[in-house]
């Protein structure tokens, strides 16, 4: 069975190669090739899953060694895959959700002339993401890590002819590179400390080294996670990443890639367990991002950006849980999986809405769409209920556990973290209700609002190319798009309940991540009750603001906080002023320095010699008699010198 692991990656990789190299000949069937290979990978994943289930708990780790990648001195990196419960969970999520989104994209990208290429990139993403979760050492993980970054870059910038898309893609890659720097430094530290960076030896010896080194490794891994998972302070790229086609946002920027940071932290649990300071930093980052994302999500009128804020916030929950140590690892992953379902479903729903609305993204120009798009409405609604934690839906279970675990951290920290998590739940309920109400309820604001919306420029290009600002005719999307939405909606409803039945998920993952029950200062039921109260408050406020009152089609000016939140809490402005402007000045002055100073010194030397020779040249005046003078003078000098030497 081990030999199948490589096939998991090989199938989508083959797809990417065939689609990207194949050229126009494959335009007509390319999307089906991509989808098929994605499903092949999913089926292999299922087979491996069945195999793992058939084994006893302690034999559930499989490895497959392919070849020695790099070997120099004691530096040794293998291409080895490791399939255990943790990576299996990811494999199923990635290939399952990935396949559904492939299918959805067949419909969504139908009119795009570069659809084949799109599927090539999607397959490339799948391969890289699978490599990331299947790698058996950090360096191979790094390959997948940057591979998904590349796929993300290509897909965000898929509509390259739009400068905004190209800029967003570049920004995503660059911000991720800062995180990647953290990962490479972490690997170097591991090598310097342990002499290896393979999971097995590093994690089993994590306790043998000094606290300081472990903290450094932990912080560097956290930096990496921040970049990939859009956590503060490296979160700025995610909002802009919504420039990509919506299926991309669903797959990469909601369900899978952005959760890689959580995977990294959970996978490196042994290091974090032994480095409490790094762990604390993880929880702080998680808690801050949780609120940050939620606040941004409240202010955005662009449906995708609102969802992006929500993604950031939900990953904040996961990172927070991962920072809690063994009490939280399992729940971080559980929330990751349920989030994968409902957030992918929500994005696909958003895509479906945009599909029916001439690619309009401004929610102020939606409204009352439930009549026109019943399936989208129902699936989106179920995803909405799941994310806000409506009882007995997926989010209810997974989020509740995280809040409990946060309280169970104990001490003041526990109260603060738990409080933040509760507050986050309330805000989540608020902004998701807002999205729901603005999109599917209320008056049909698209009917009489032909002026272009000033709030956010339209993301999808079709509206621009068609040049239409006429009244849209909302309609339900084709089956190829609705079926994935329905499947995901079922997952959002049921998987939380399923996972929690007899703590199935816990027992499944525990051998890899470890688990310990914390001692919560408050009882489980109190936490659940408090969460539900927060939920009701959040929904209530949103209803009061957007349900009862009509939504203005043009965004009101809003309070200072709203305006700041619309601008991503000014992070971009900060980046622009400090990094972009500062960097521009730095490079410009360096170009100047290089030209005037470094080159100038050399050219100055050359000019100096030129000047000197110009002077000396004048002695050479061409008059024979002056040459004769110098000759006689020289001869006289020589004679004098000789006499002098003799005298001495």
């Amino acid at each position: 069975m081990e030999n199948l692991i490589a096939l998991l990656i090989a199938a989508p990789l083959l797809g990417a190669a065939v689609l990207l190299v194949g050229g126009r000949r494959l335009d007509r069937v390319g999307h089906w090739i991509g989808t098929l290979l994605s499903f092949v990978s999913f089926v292999i994943g299922l087979a491996l899953f069945a195999d793992l289930l058939g084994k006893s708990t302690e034999h559930r780790t499989m490895t497959q060694h392919l070849w020695t990648w790099i070997s120099v001195g004691s530096f040794h990196a293998d291409v080895t895959f490791r399939l255990d419960q943790l990576s299996m969970t990811f494999v199923l999520l990635i290939t399952g959700v990935g396949s559904l989104i492939h299918l959805y994209s067949v419909g969504y990208m139908e009119h795009d002339e570069r659809r084949r290429r799109f599927f090539g990139y999607l397959n490339l993403f799948l391969a890289a993401m699978l490599l990331l979760v299947l790698a058996d050492n950090y360096l191979l993980l790094y390959v997948g890590w940057e591979g998904v970054g590349l796929a993300s870059y290509l897909l965000i910038g898929f509509w390259q002819h739009k400068p905004s898309a190209a800029t967003a893609a570049k920004k995503a890659f660059l911000v991720n590179r800062v995180g990647d720097m953290g990962l490479s430094i972490a690997i170097m530290l591991m090598f310097a400390t342990f002499g290896t960076f393979a999971f097995g030896p590093v994690l089993s010896h994590a306790g043998d080294t000094s606290q300081g080194k472990l903290t450094a490794i932990g912080l560097m891994l956290l930096l990496a996670a921040c970049g990939k998972s859009a956590q503060v302070p490296l979160q700025s790229w995610l909002g802009d990443a919504m420039e990509g086609p919506t299926p991309v946002s669903a797959l990469i920027h909601a369900a899978t890639m952005v959760t890689a940071g959580v995977y990294l932290i959970v996978r490196s649990g042994a290091i974090f367990n032994a480095a409490p300071d790094a762990q604390l930093a993880v929880t702080v980052v998680g808690a801050v991002t949780l609120l940050f994302g939620a606040i941004v999500g409240c202010a955005k009128d662009d449906i995708k950006k609102a969802l992006a804020g929500s993604t950031m916030s939900q990953i904040g929950y996961m990172v927070l849980a991962a920072g809690l140590g063994p009490i939280g690892y399992v729940f971080a992953i559980m929330h990751l999986v349920t989030h994968g379902f409902f957030k992918a479903g929500l994005f696909l729903g958003a895509g479906s809405v945009m599909h029916g609305m001439n690619d309009e993204v401004d929610m102020r120009r939606y409204g009352g769409l439930r009549k026109y798009m019943p399936i989208t409405f129902i699936t989106f609604g179920l995803g909405y209920l799941a994310i806000i934690g409506f009882p007995f839906l997926s989010g209810f279970y997974s989020k509740d556990k995280i809040i409990e675990a946060a309280f169970a951290k104990g001490g003041t920290e526990g109260w603060i973290l738990g409080g933040v998590a509760l507050l986050g739940a309330a805000i989540t309920a608020f902004y998701m209700t807002r999205v729901m109400l603005m999109t599917f309820f209320g008056e049909e604001r698209w009917r009489n609002a032909p002026t272009p919306s000033p709030a956010e420029p339209s993301v999808e290009p079709a509206a621009e190319t068609r040049g239409e600002h006429t009244e849209p005719h909302p309609h339900e999307s084709p089956k190829v798009m609705t079926i994935p939405m329905i499947v995901l909606a079922v997952g959002s409803v049921a998987c939380g309940f399923f996972f929690n039945l007899g703590d199935r998920f816990l027992h499944w993952l525990e051998p890899v991540t470890g688990h310990s029950e914390g001692h919560s200062p408050v009882s489980t039921w109190t936490v659940t009750g408090a969460t539900l109260v927060c939920l009701v408050i959040g929904v209530g406020i949103a209803w009061a603001q957007y349900g009862r009152k009509p939504v203005p089609a043009v965004a009101p000016r809003g309070s200072l906080l709203t305006r700041a939140a619309r601008r991503d809490l000014l992070q971009d402005d900060f980046n622009h002023v400090v990094l972009v402007r500062g960097g521009e000045h730095l490079t410009r002055s360096l170009v100047y320095v290089d030209h005037t100073l470094v080159d100038g010194v050399v050219n100055g030397t050359a000019a100096g010699f030129g000047g000197l020779s110009g002077r000396l040249r004048r002695i050479q005046n061409g008059f024979a008699r002056s040459y004769a003078v110098s000759m006689f003078g020289g001869a006289a000098l020589l004679v004098a010198a000789t006499l002098l030497m003799r005298a001495v």
């Binding site: 040249r617 050479q620 005046n621 061409g622 008059f623 024979a624 008699r625 004769a628 003078v629 006689f632």
Partner: protein
């Protein structure tokens, strides 16, 4: 007669020749002054030969004469051709060799 007197004469002739080279403009005169210097050297060589009692100086004097003769041939030819092209035998006019 004291052979040192010949050396004084040689030094005198050489100085006259050198001065001539430096101050005269006419190429022919400069040329003759050079010859004068060469002959002053010859005189000194022969004197030294006599004083030290070996023949090296005399042999070198013969070499000098040969070289001087060759020089006259080439030098006069140059001067003549210069005079033909420029209608002047002044050395200061022929300053084209400078950079």
């Amino acid at each position: 007669m004291n052979p040192v007197n010949y050396l004084y004469l040689a030094a005198l002739l050489f100085t006259i020749g050198a001065t001539g080279v430096l101050i005269r403009r006419n190429a022919i005169v400069v040329f003759m002054c050079i010859e004068l210097m060469l002959n002053a050297c010859n005189l000194a060589f022969v004197t030294f030969s006599r004083m030290h009692g070996n023949l090296d100086g005399q042999i070198i004097a013969f070499f000098t004469m040969v070289v001087a003769a060759a020089e006259v041939v080439v030098g006069l030819a140059i001067i003549v051709s210069l005079f033909r092209t420029r209608h002047s035998a002044s050395v200061d006019d022929a300053s084209l060799m400078k950079l």
